[in-house]
Symmetry: C2
Subunit: 409 residues, 2 copies
Amino acid sequence: MKITVQKYGGSSVADADRIKNVARRVIKSQQPGEGLVVVVSAMGDTTDELISLSQQINPEPSEREMDQLISTGEQISSALLAMAIEHNGAKAVSLTGNQVGIQTDDSHTKARIFKIDSRKMIEELEGGRIVVVAGFQGINIKKDVTTLGRGGSDTTAVALAAVLNADSCEIYTDVDGVYTADPRVVPDAVKIEKICYDEMLELASLGTKVIQNRAVEFAKKFNVVLHVRSSFNERPGTLVIEEVEGMSMEKVVIRGVSLNQEEAKLTITLVPDKPGIAARIFKNIAENNINVDMIIQNVSAQGFTDVSFTVPRPELAKTSALLEKIAGEIEAGKVNVEEKIAKVSIVGVGMKSHPGVAATMFETLAREKINIMMISTSEIKISCVVRSEDGERAARSLHQAFELDREEE
Amino acid sequence: MKITVQKYGGSSVADADRIKNVARRVIKSQQPGEGLVVVVSAMGDTTDELISLSQQINPEPSEREMDQLISTGEQISSALLAMAIEHNGAKAVSLTGNQVGIQTDDSHTKARIFKIDSRKMIEELEGGRIVVVAGFQGINIKKDVTTLGRGGSDTTAVALAAVLNADSCEIYTDVDGVYTADPRVVPDAVKIEKICYDEMLELASLGTKVIQNRAVEFAKKFNVVLHVRSSFNERPGTLVIEEVEGMSMEKVVIRGVSLNQEEAKLTITLVPDKPGIAARIFKNIAENNINVDMIIQNVSAQGFTDVSFTVPRPELAKTSALLEKIAGEIEAGKVNVEEKIAKVSIVGVGMKSHPGVAATMFETLAREKINIMMISTSEIKISCVVRSEDGERAARSLHQAFELDREEE
């Protein structure tokens, strides 16, 4: 059976009217003899409202109870969508993560899927029913409800597409697809027709929030074709695939420009330059569950070095306190904090074979008189940390320099 | 292990503050080495809100999806109560009907429990945790969520008490216990200290809405002692037990007066008085899921009879239409409808051995110049249908005539 998986985000099912709208879209896309599985997030702000209610009762609830609580959001939206589909004359059944049989590990609030039982879904699909699955949730071995972390419904959709060997996984959202840059920052940004997994991963981790990174990793691993598109119009969106066919290596070097203004920078100065010191710093930070992004260590001068790194801004206070402690222990200098920075990045598999890309990026920023504070490169992306106030201008100038407004031939 | 089951209704957990209040009560009542299971309803109007949301989407949703939807209400309140208990320093775990293992039949929205697995609860209790169970719900053999009908949390509590062989089942509500009559109608009404199952059943089915009848039936069947009391104060409530010890047969004949003003009366006149006709009428009505209460058939005159019966008022239009159709088929006369009636009843096991009770009832009503339209008796109750406007006066005069204001010696 040919199977399609669709996923609708919280804004697409935010109220009764939008749920009815999704039901109409779903039915319209149903093909005779084919299977359709629809994954939904919780309605609009439901999850936040439940969290806020729990905060009034217990500011530090156990994660087990938190999952038990917030997983109801998707159970509600999935049941309502099934009702809406039935009201329009098609057959549907809603299933929770437990009812599908989405087995996860024990990490409440950020669980990892390790097994999905496809039998129940197949049985329902063969009965001619549209299967509406509550996203974001699973169960652990003890039958406790687990959740997959923010944006986990994307992961649910891709994982179901993988296990069902679906032809495609359509991610419906409130934007038209993936753009060469954030259109609010770069008005010339254009929608990308096709992008490969690695580029999508880099863009997503650099701040382009269309689809959860874990979902893209899953898609790459199981070779699931993703179609990111809008639930409010019929326009085609962006295909996320393994290799972008017919991509001219000559023309398309850079796929997109990403701007992240949600990080902060810390520097620890006069670090004794001996083996094991960096490990000690970052092991300590990792043990506190702080997600470090860019790390730069300057060359050593007279046996000392400076180490800089960036973290998500909400983690700054915690990291800073921790770093002060470490600095004392390793007899380093002081800890400098830069609360607001901007990280501007260019992404594209094409740059692998184009040596001049980095130079073009630095020249462009120099021409704009934008000072580069940190640089980090990978096979398919280059990121520069600049002053917060320079971020948007940097993104626009790079978008133009790499001719992204002329993308898609 | 000595185990107590407590049940808190929707008004007791209506908001964050009330949930915290229940958490404090629960912890206070926890005894070292003993097990405590707490069953909760959904917060305040949650269930009604979910139903209203579903109505906007599909006025006739499938019952399967309805159960999937509304069962989230109790999942939310149970998780929040577990968090509140943990916040106060005790250990707790919330469990859905599925997680407990409450097996029901397939009758969505009014499922019957047929098996409860006590192992998970016992395991948690032995781990020193207060077990908070989402009331009102179970699962059928297909793992679909089922619900037990309105007030089903009472049934959950009693069923858990039965399977756990609990010492008592405390039903916390927003009233102090069971009264000899509705205090809003009869100001002299007093709280009943002890009442037996049969009396409670009659009172509940006659309109005294403190506890769901099915829960009392369950309690009677498994000999579970119920303690109906308020969640807002510490006063003892009403014990519902098998036999009320030390009850003076001489003094206490009648336990309570019940007034039901939510029924309507229908009469079909000139019904041919031959075998099978009554069966035909009521079979037809039963097949349409209409719950008939009192039925009166007058003695036959010249081969014809009148048949009157009462139904819940919301069923009146449906029943009336159906009855018109039947009247035509069986060649009866016309259908008369009385939209507003009052049914006043007296209840007490003592009346079995007191022949004068019915006479006292009729005399009392006659003295008050209240016309009796229908009479129905059982071993332990007598009900009279009177005009709607006479209902409250009838209840007050009977309460006085049977000296119920002097109850509990």
